[in-house]
């Protein structure tokens, strides 16, 4: 019998149920990624992403906005 959910503003997604060992390696990765944490005064990580803008599909690269 499926249990009822009240997600509020969240958008829950499915995921595999991990064993204890896999949970640990995920934790290790999180610690490593902490050094890439964004900080005030640091460069905003550049990225490129597709998207939608005023009736067109576009591709945007953050660094193209430098100087604006």
């Amino acid at each position: 019998m499926a249990e009822e959910l009240s997600p509020g503003c969240a958008r829950p997604a499915g995921r595999p149920v991990s064993e204890a060992a896999r949970d640990e390696s995920a934790y290790q990765q999180e610690r490593k990624e902490e050094s890439n944490v964004i900080l005030i005064g640091r460069k905003a990580p550049d990225f490129t992403a597709p998207g939608y803008h005023q009736g067109k599909f576009v591709n945007v690269k953050l660094s193209e906005y430098l100087g604006k």
């Binding site: 509020g8 990225f47 597709p50 998207g51 005023q54 945007v60």
Partner: protein, 137 residues
């Protein structure tokens, strides 16, 4: 000033959301690009991707023309932000930038309100230059 929005939703979902709902809230629809970050890799480097939830926590980042992060705001999903505050922060960051760091905007600053001149002369003398009432409108 340019605006970009990013979420894990696909460009197709962005289009449908804009064309079906957002255009009813904003005349002409969303004026800035809505980007698709499926998988949350961009959200992850910005520190807002929730891997377990598969979605990013709502965050707003102010990036200056040199590509440096000047401010960011992240709130729990059920609490919306104050747009007027984001605009105020943009104006403050621009003011400080134009002054080349010779001016600071004190707490509660709004355009037209006095700025402070950071330096050794201000140390211990903030009480002369700024009143706590100035933090409020």
């Amino acid at each position: 000033m340019e605006v970009l929005s990013v979420s894990v939703d696909s460009m197709f979902v962005h289009k449908m959301w804009n064309d079906q709902e957002l255009c009813k809230m904003v005349a002409g629809g969303v004026p800035f690009p809505m980007l698709a970050d499926g998988g949350g890799k961009v959200g992850a480097v910005y520190g807002v991707y929730d891997e377990e939830g598969g979605v990013a926590t709502r965050g707003r980042f102010l990036i200056d023309p040199d590509g440096i992060i000047q401010a960011y705001e992240v709130l729990t999903p059920l609490v919306g932000r104050n747009v007027a505050e984001s605009i105020r922060q943009i104006q403050a960051v621009q003011t400080v930038r134009e002054s080349k760091g010779t001016q600071a905007t004190p707490s509660g600053w709004r355009p037209g309100k006095p700025t402070l001149k950071p330096g050794i002369d201000l140390v211990g003398n903030v009480w002369r230059a700024w009143k706590t009432e100035s933090a409020f409108d």
